[in-house]
Symmetry: C2
Subunit: 334 residues, 2 copies
């Protein structure tokens, strides 16, 4: 039986679904429930990570300091994790997180831009922290490229490395190839983080574990933006049935998920048209609101906009491309 | 490129989620939208099929006659299907459905009780109708047993045969084995019908197609009881990406799903604790309400009741077993 370490970003990635408005009481309640179930790692923060609370991507209801101290206090056995995107987060934020007792620090970068994590991973390694590097929008790179970037991150000091299916684009065989290539290239734990745009989050996560991932992310009730993340309390028993051990108590986990449904998740994730289209197109679903706005004004089909953004390989931060694409499609329709 | 025929029971299996209360206007609206998208087969009826509207399983808002004539009128290209469970439905109901212009008639039986379909399949074959036989709760039989029962059904005159994962218990390799065994045993189209209790409905349906199923069921927005069915508008593009053709127009299908979300589905299917537990236990999720009632009165954990029902191989119609199991668990806890 191979062990899989479940990494639970309900209190971080889930924040995207509530515009970062989880209260300290909700953070505490869920962290206690996850801890009681034996979830090994509980991640907390603004949806975009340390230091991201801002007018631009949304101000969180609670400061990073309060989030971290609240969850730290609530966890008796589980380890606490934080996430940071270089640019939003700084070395000061990392220092603060370590001072609050973060056990695992994840640095996220676009899948072909590992160098952006160099300074932070080296800083964390120097502090003796367990640093992970996660490659986002990983469908935009080949297995070989991902393996190379993963190895680079390990060279910077990452003690765990892996991929996020940020657009929810993968099918299981895509995941197997990529995780397999990374697992063959590094000797640290390999991470997989899925999204459910094509209904494949659980199947992709099982495929990841079978291909060598030993850290798998999942959120209670699939809490997360758009189509949501991998549903934690489904993934755990499915992994166990497939022959993996997680060390998690099923009934207590189901209780934690019910707490989440009651206290965190205002509405269950729905796989709507734009979630499906963005998954097919390989575009970050966070583009949904600006795409709807720009396409509505111009009278073009937002689904066409997503597919064209996919052809142009748009990535987060390139929201200005939306206006170009909308203008192009309007012109083409004349 | 292999072709898959999508069979859409939104207006039949989805009825379980609304206690069979879909109005004639909603039936017409969805049937028109599915027809416009090129969905090849649209199934309609009470959730439990022809003749099932009753106090015992719920009276439908609309009679079988009105359902059939309404959908028949709405379909210009799609074929119309009906479902019947021997016992609820009778030969008279089949005659009526054929008179209304049903193109495909499905007879459903417990996976090891094909003989119950004999008379009906022979009658339908005699009428020149396209009769299908679907084996329900198919996780309770081995691949070899299913293949044998499938061949028996073809002997009775079925022109299509396959399995329903009624409890949502399968993982993809379970489906591959079973569909593969059936496809090797018969020379008629092989059917797969999934449920999403373990988050695997889409992955299982793709596995079915890869193993030789050429008729795959799916419902708009996964509409259906409990964790719901396979989500139609996700499955179709995923099948296409996997190398199958469906002949369905994606945008029109997304439009149909949006119509369903607006007019048919009061709340999106949620994979809650009892959906997960019933899927793991291999018990029909329709047991949920009687289990909750009996376990609540006795102060036992409904999750334990589901797992014990699974060990006892309970099937639909054996709801009286619930009381035994609850008494047994209460006794054991003393």
């Amino acid at each position: 039986m191979n062990a899989v370490t479940i990494h639970d970003p309900t209190l971080r990635d889930g924040q995207h679904a509530v515009r970062h408005q989880l209260s300290a009481a909700a953070l505490r309640g869920y962290a206690e429930a996850a801890d009681a179930a034996g979830v090994p790692v509980v991640e907390v923060g603004h949806g975009n990570g340390l230091g991201a609370s801002s007018l631009q991507v949304g101000r969180a209801a609670v400061s990073d300091d309060v989030m971290l101290s609240t969850v730290r206090e609530a966890l008796r056995h589980s380890r606490m994790a934080v996430f940071m995107l270089p640019g939003w987060g700084t070395s000061d934020d990392l220092r603060k997180a370590l001072a609050h007792g973060a056990d695992v620090v994840r640095v996220g970068v676009h899948c072909t831009e590992t160098s952006l994590a160099e300074r932070h991973l080296e800083f964390l390694a120097g502090e003796g922290a367990e640093a992970h590097c996660v490659l986002m929008m990983s469908h935009m790179a080949t297995p070989a490229e991902l393996a190379e970037h993963a190895a680079t991150a390990v060279g910077y000091g990452a003690r765990g490395v892996g991929i996020m299916d940020s657009a929810g684009h993968f099918l299981p065989r895509d995941v197997s190839e990529r995780i397999g290539a990374i697992a063959a290239a590094v000797d640290v734990p390999v991470i997989f983080h899925g999204h459910n745009n094509l209904g494949m989050a659980v199947a992709n996560s099982v495929a990841a574990a079978e291909a060598g991932a030993t850290v798998v992310d999942a959120c209670a009730r699939g809490f997360g933006a758009g189509a949501g993340n991998t549903q934690l309390e489904v993934l755990v028993p499915v992994l166990e049935r497939t022959g993996f051990t997680t060390g998690i108590d099923l009934y207590a986990l189901l209780d934690a998920a019910e707490y989440a449904e009651r206290e965190l998740v205002p509405a269950p994730p729905v796989t709507g048209s734009l979630s499906i289209v963005s998954g097919l197109a390989g575009v970050f679903s966070g583009f949904k609101h600006p795409v709807l706005e720009a396409s509505g004004r111009a009278g073009v089909d937002p689904r066409d906009v997503f597919f064209e953004l996919g052809r142009r390989q748009a990535i987060a931060g390139q929201e200005d491309l939306i206006v170009d694409v909308v203008a192009h499609l309007r012109e083409a329709a004349r």
